[in-house]
């Protein structure tokens, strides 16, 4: 059974009087531990697909199954809980909480989970901060970091709760090439070491190069599904 099973997902938006089709019947099965890249031109539906997989958005028709469980009928609160327990996001513009320190930003998903003691949360956060190469910066505020460092914190925040799936929307788009390589290698390492499933949309050829599977979207449909060794 695939970890994520997307079945004939369609998504239409209203834009004024017009109906715009973002996804037109996407079928995709994602196995645990995949390092999957979604590529395609702007407006091809990459972000929409990620949002639907991450339960941030709902499909107009079709279904998304997570470990065989249909997510379509879940309430808003159940969807929040689903995101909290299973999914982590990395965004193009980092989106750290500016009033919280690096450690507090990374601890935030654990605070929401409410499964750990204060000491356990601090320990987990510091370990993952160390693993993304930001040891010694735990007490800094986001404004004291470079763009690359901020994205590392965002990765640490995504990984701290050991999610089964990390969804990343253009994670290297705002980074210079050296920093982007660093971020990619961290994600790859986490994929290998923790078997975390990574699904990321990208325009970045460097990222594409490292992907084990590349889904090419065009006009809201899968044009190509390519696997690499």
């Amino acid at each position: 059974m695939p970890l994520l099973d997307i079945r004939n997902v369609k998504k239409e938006y209203r834009k004024g009087d017009k109906s715009v089709t973002a996804l037109s019947g996407v079928n995709l099965a994602i196995e645990k531990g995949e390092f999957l890249s979604i590529v395609g031109p702007s407006g091809s539906g990459k972000s929409t697909l990620l949002n639907i997989v991450g339960c941030l958005d709902t499909p107009t028709s079709g279904s998304v199954l997570y470990n065989g469980r249909e997510l379509g009928g879940l309430s808003e609160q159940q969807l929040s809980d689903y995101r909290r327990d299973n999914i982590a996001f990395i965004f193009q513009s980092y989106n750290l909480i500016p009033v919280l320190t690096v450690r507090e930003n990374v601890e935030l998903p654990l605070v929401i989970e409410r499964k750990y003691s204060k000491a356990e949360m601090a320990q987990k956060a510091l370990a993952v901060i160390e693993s993304v190469g930001l040891g010694g910066m735990a007490d800094r505020l986001p404004k004291e970091l470079s763009g690359g460092q901020e994205q590392r914190v965002a990765i640490a925040r995504a990984l701290v709760k050991d999610p089964l799936v990390v969804l990343a929307d253009e994670p290297t788009a705002n980074l210079d090439s050296t920093t982007a390589e660093d971020v990619i290698s961290i994600m790859q390492r986490m994929n290998t070491e923790r078997a975390t499933t990574f699904v990321f949309s990208t325009h970045d050829l460097r990222m594409e190069r490292h992907a084990k599977r590349i889904i090419t979207l065009r006009d809201g449909a899968i044009e190509k599904d390519e696997r690499r060794q």
Binding site: N95, V99, L100, P109, V111, I112
Partner: protein
């Protein structure tokens, strides 16, 4: 370590200038409220003290039939053997420790005439020594006069004396209906004129000794009322219940000031009106919080989206913004209470002199008011400021909580 509340607190400090504006707005409105509370409390205290000491005290012991007709001040329904009742009251330590003064009294209407001038007046007759601490008229005797010291002595309000062209040393022929329903006449000598500054006193009151009144009214040893003044007028109901339980004579009635005349109703009315005024003032102060929170929600749309993407529930987002609003209200309220409390303390020390206005009003008030504020007022004000701040934050918090996560994340 941080929690939802701590995150909210950090957000409060995010835009300091804006937060300070909210604090100042709430602080100003709360300081006005606290000062108004102090002023009203001083007003009520003075009003209750003056209204009760001249009338029925904090507790009045009288015949049941007198209570039924008390506004006519009948002298036919009396309390026999008042001394034994007073002794019984003073023997109960729970009652005795609450009491400041007990005074038997007869109050009755009289008609005064002098050289064709007629004027009705209210005669207050009590133990002159005890009444010194109750009516305090000895403090208002005009030069050339003195307080009561013997039989047939009479002191008169200065305005009343002026209307009837009486002077100190004149003889007054006082005529009234006694407890036997017959008309009785007694001569008194004016030994002093008093000027209290309160129209209700100076225009229509006179004071004589209790034994003179008992003689004039033919009441024997009986009195019309036993007046009890307490150290704290707020305890009147409780003490009245206790005294009532100790009196076996069913024709005697023990009544707290809260059940006599219009004094209590007036106090409740004034207090209620001001409570609503406080709410309006606090709302005006807190309203700026609503605007500030609305701005914060718009500015932090993306952040709200991120928190929701991590699994923050709608209710958690709502609570976070409510806590932010409450924090602004709470800190502003504390500052306002400190500011208002300080101004009340200053006016309490020096008094608020209202002499210039008192001659024009007939409310029994001291010329100088002393604003007071208690712990209950302070707690009320802080709670009011905080709760209203939370209430005005509901709309922005709901807007934040209901935000579509995808739209929020996409927003710049």
């Amino acid at each position: 370590m941080f929690s939802l509340i701590r995150l909210a607190m950090r957000n409060v400090g995010r835009n300091r200038r804006r937060s300070i504006l909210a604090f100042v707005s709430v602080a100003i409105s709360l300081s006005v409220i606290v000062f108004a509370q102090g002023f009203v409390s001083g007003f009520v205290q003075s009003f209750v003290k003056n209204a009760t000491k001249n009338d029925a005290g904090h507790i009045r012991i009288a015949a049941k039939k007198f209570e039924e007709r008390s506004r006519f001040l009948p002298v036919t329904y009396t309390v026999p053997r008042p001394d034994s009742i007073i002794r019984a009251i003073e023997r109960d330590p729970a009652v005795a420790r609450e009491i400041e003064l007990v005074s038997p009294r007869i109050t009755f209407g009289v008609l005064l005439s002098n050289n064709g001038l007629n004027k009705s007046a209210l005669a207050l007759a009590g133990d002159p020594e005890k009444e010194k601490n109750l009516l305090l008229l000895q403090k208002s005797i005009l030069p050339g006069g003195r307080y009561l010291s013997g039989p047939r002595d009479l002191i008169l309000g200065s305005a009343l004396a002026k209307n009837l062209r009486y002077r100190v040393g004149d003889t007054v022929r006082m005529m009234t209906s006694g407890s036997d329903y017959a008309l009785h006449l007694k001569k008194f000598v004016i030994v002093g004129l008093f000027s209290t500054g309160m129209n209700v006193f100076d225009d229509r009151m006179l004071q004589i000794g209790l034994s003179d009144a008992q003689d004039l009214l033919r009441t024997g040893d009986a009195v019309q009322q036993i007046i009890i003044m307490l150290k704290n007028y707020r305890n009147a109901d409780m003490v009245a219940n206790r005294i009532r339980a100790g009196i076996s004579d069913t024709s005697i009635c023990v009544t707290s000031w809260t059940h006599i005349g219009d004094t209590y109703t007036t106090v409740v009315l004034v207090t209620r009106i001001y409570e609503w005024i406080y709410v309006v003032i606090a709302l005006l102060g807190a309203f700026i919080i609503s605007n500030i929170m609305m701005m914060a929600v718009l500015e932090r749309r993306k952040e709200i989206g991120i928190l929701k993407s991590m699994g923050f529930r709608r209710s958690q987002v709502l609570i976070m913004f409510l806590v932010e609003g409450m924090a602004l209200g709470f800190v502003g309220s504390l500052a306002g209470v400190a500011l208002g409390g300080a101004s009340v303390a200053i006016f309490h020390a020096y008094g608020l002199d209202l002499t210039a206005y008192m001659s024009r009003i007939s409310i029994p008030l001291d010329n100088v008011l002393y604003p007071t504020i208690g712990a209950a007022n302070i707690i009320y004000s802080v709670v009011l400021g905080t709760v209203l701040a939370a209430l005005v934050s509901v709309a922005p918090a709901r807007q934040a909580a209901g935000m579509n996560v995808v739209d929020a994340i996409k927003s710049v």
